[in-house]
Symmetry: C2
Subunit: 174 residues, 2 copies
């Protein structure tokens, strides 16, 4: 059965810097009408970086939750930027590590009810140390944790970020 | 080091049905100013339901991606609704199963850069079959998969939903 919802009209409420908001009129599969509130977003890349059995985690203050959140290195895609290039860039900026290449692990939908964002998760390969250089308004603390430490951080609820949980739960099993 | 960002002024751009949008003026830890685009959302609950070694998955058309997405049963919290009650409600609505109780597995932040949403993930316990009763504009197909099938669905990229990946990667390891 095909439950497709078709766009009857796209209505922009806001066009912003990191996101835009639409309130679309849609036609349901049975012909009825409905409204969908949708966030447009360029998407993001995240990168799992493992060295000598330890994974790189960063702590970053996240205004949305008014607290410091533990994550793997990640960032928004610039317009037109390839996800793998962004992942390599973020690892260098936030972790001070240059990856020769990356392997795609996941494409995730953070919250499919209202955002179009896709987050690409990569594994870093061919690592060389460089120096961190954060964005102008980004303040980040990097640290390295082994599998046992990460397991405990997940169990205790210290790691809540969705993309990081997906990457770290995958890593723990592999 | 404390990199806290303080709210200087909350500015509502849009107050909607499932989300609201603010463009806040914030003060960074070093005194500089910045702007944060933030989505307000009631949050959601998701529920991992396992019966005879198989997990309940649903397929639902998601307008944000213009395609059918595989997920565990989940839904938005009604205003003031407790996450565990919402999880039990969604399992009954979408899966036709009554859970006597639930155990909290995770609280996840879907996309901490711009949304305040929290998704609570529960494990269903004490199961009894009832009947499905979907929301008025919700069209859902339930199915049951074992661990090997779920592993393959994850590896092939068929499961992209963040909350479902977190729950299912946890289940595969436990």
């Amino acid at each position: 059965m095909n439950f497709e919802e078709k766009t009857a009209k796209k209505n922009y409420i806001y066009k912003g810097k990191i996101l835009s908001l639409r309130k679309d009129d849609v036609t349901l599969y049975d012909g009825r009408s409905a409204v969908r509130e949708i966030i447009e977003h360029n998407g993001g890349s995240a990168i799992l970086c493992v060295k000598e059995g330890k994974v790189l985690l960063i702590r970053q203050f996240r205004y949305a939750y008014h607290k410091t959140v533990v994550e793997i290195p990640a960032g928004k895609l610039n317009a037109g930027e390839a996800p793998d290039i962004a992942a390599i860039r973020e690892l260098e900026e936030e972790g001070g590590i240059k990856a020769e290449r990356v392997k795609k692990l996941f494409e995730i939908y953070p919250s499919p009810g209202y955002t179009e964002e896709i987050v690409y998760i990569f594994l870093a390969e061919g690592l060389t140390d460089t120096a961190t250089h954060f964005d102008d308004d980004e303040f980040i603390t990097p640290e390295w944790k082994d599998k046992e430490e990460v397991k405990k951080m997940i169990e205790s609820g210290e790691i809540c970020d969705a993309k990081s949980l997906v990457a770290l739960l995958w890593w723990i099993n592999n």
